[in-house]
């Protein structure tokens, strides 16, 4: 019993068994997090560096907490306050860190494929914490865990992913994962923010009408507009986006059925999601954050063991 991969670079190269193993291990870690002492000694011989070349609140804190709950030693690296500013390359930085006997690297980078590049050149295990517009595997896993917790199974579940699909690594990882686990996916948003051949490439349904997506789905996973990754105007204004594609309680009321609301954060309130929906009774946004720690513990635990056995 172990993962089929040495690194977690994306959902794309995981098997269904890998995903099931991660989710079932996460269930046991979630129980650990309810105990008076929320800590197990499993990774006390492991040192992990959190290498963040891009800003993050949730993912970084969630990983750091997961590492500490597993008794691993942790190092934090933020590009903005490091020698990367002085011109050190990614590979040099990582090799320097690894020479201090670090076993695992958790990395976020604005360039798609950065962790894949690193995986080819260094011996340590790599966990992708988001690379450009490619993948964000632990987010997809925690989304799946939260949906499974809510609905019991992912099989046959209808998930609408609404917003900036084009620039979202969360969308891509979710589409891969939900496809592997037998859920149905529909993406919705402005035509300029949805890749043209997404149906042919990934087998998802497409609509440019948010109401239609809501009508169809059990779960709406709402995404932020990634202005930092858009180098040309793709819609007229945030206000117009909100009017056409934002999710308000009036819109949900007009649909007239219970739809579970998810969001990977950070939320731009009043743009993709109105406050009363984000904080409403059908929102599981904070459960997602809670589950994130357990899911990341499972990933780190399984990878640490995988690498030490081989």
């Amino acid at each position: 019993m172990k993962l089929s991969t040495k690194h977690l670079l994306g959902i794309k190269n995981l098997t269904t068994q890998d995903i099931e193993l991660i989710l079932s291990t996460a269930t046991q870690f979630k129980e650990v997090l309810q105990r008076p002492v929320k800590k197990v000694p499993s990774l006390r011989d492991i040192t992990i560096v959190n290498l963040f070349y891009e800003n993050s609140t949730r993912t970084r804190m969630s990983f750091e907490l997961a590492e500490k709950r597993l008794s691993a030693d942790t190092l934090n690296f933020a590009a903005s306050s490091s020698s990367a500013k002085k011109g050190e390359t990614l590979l040099d930085t990582v090799n320097n860190i690894l020479s201090m006997k670090v076993d695992m690297v958790v990395m976020r980078h604005s360039a798609s494929g950065a962790p894949h590049f690193l995986a080819k050149h260094i011996p340590a295990a790599i966990v992708n914490a988001g690379d450009g517009i490619n993948e964000h595997p632990t987010q997809a896993l925690l989304d799946a865990f939260s949906m499974q917790e809510q609905f019991g199974t992912l099989k046959g579940l209808r998930v609408a992913i609404i917003g900036d699909i084009m620039h979202s690594r969360v969308a891509l990882s979710n589409i891969y994962l939900l496809g592997k686990m037998g859920a149905e996916v529909m993406v919705a948003g402005p035509p300029t923010l949805i890749p043209k051949y997404i149906t042919a490439a990934l087998g998802v349904k497409v609509t440019y009408n948010v109401a239609e997506a809501l009508q169809w789905c059990d779960v709406a996973n709402v995404l932020r507009i990634q202005l930092e990754r858009q180098n040309q105007p793709l819609f007229s204004s945030l206000r117009e986006y909100n009017l056409a594609y934002g999710i308000s309680s009036q819109l949900l009321d007009s649909i007239g059925k219970k739809i579970t609301i998810m969001h990977p954060g950070p939320i731009n309130r009043g743009v993709e999601l109105d406050s009363d929906v984000a904080d409403g009774s059908n929102s599981i946004i904070l459960n997602q954050v809670e589950n994130g720690v357990a899911v990341r513990m499972a990933v780190l635990y399984l990878l640490a063991n995988h690498n030490n056995q081989s």
Partner: protein, 191 residues
Amino acid sequence: MAVVHRCKAAIFIKIFELVKTLLSQQQIALTIKRLAHQILENHISLTDTVFIGLQPRGIFVSDRLINELQQLVSPQQIVYGKLDITFYRDDVRQHLHAANKTDILFSIENKQVILIDDVLWTGRTIRAALDALLDFGRPAKVELCALIDRRFSREFPIQAEYIGRSIDTFATQKVLVRWAEKDGQDEIVLI
């Protein structure tokens, strides 16, 4: 020559078939009944006593033991949980074991805890269980109940208070505990 060969083969088959039944289904039932009585002798009121079965295979013993105790005292008096020790194992880098459900929905603070497992051998599982247990609080006392005690093979200074059957074994031998739910019938064999 042929005779010698046949003789060797016969010995080989004899050794190969050396599967000794330690406890039959009926004996297991009687032993668990006795263990239940022994525990009650020491914990007559059960007010401060909690039972914790060890995952994955110890819970087959603990489920039967609790069943037995429920015939003897009122079921409301019995506090029973299950503990998984996977994340506390000392061989975590050698084998990856599947984690099982831990289910302790009560405080063990100042309680008399009775840990229940199927086979006590090296003592390493119990060592890990003690570590895991302390993360739930500070018990007043911890006792151990084991259905089979493979004595003289301990690697830690650990002993059981309640023992179903003590046996002497070689390290190369295996004690197989079969349960009706999983393996067809209750039976303990030595191979």
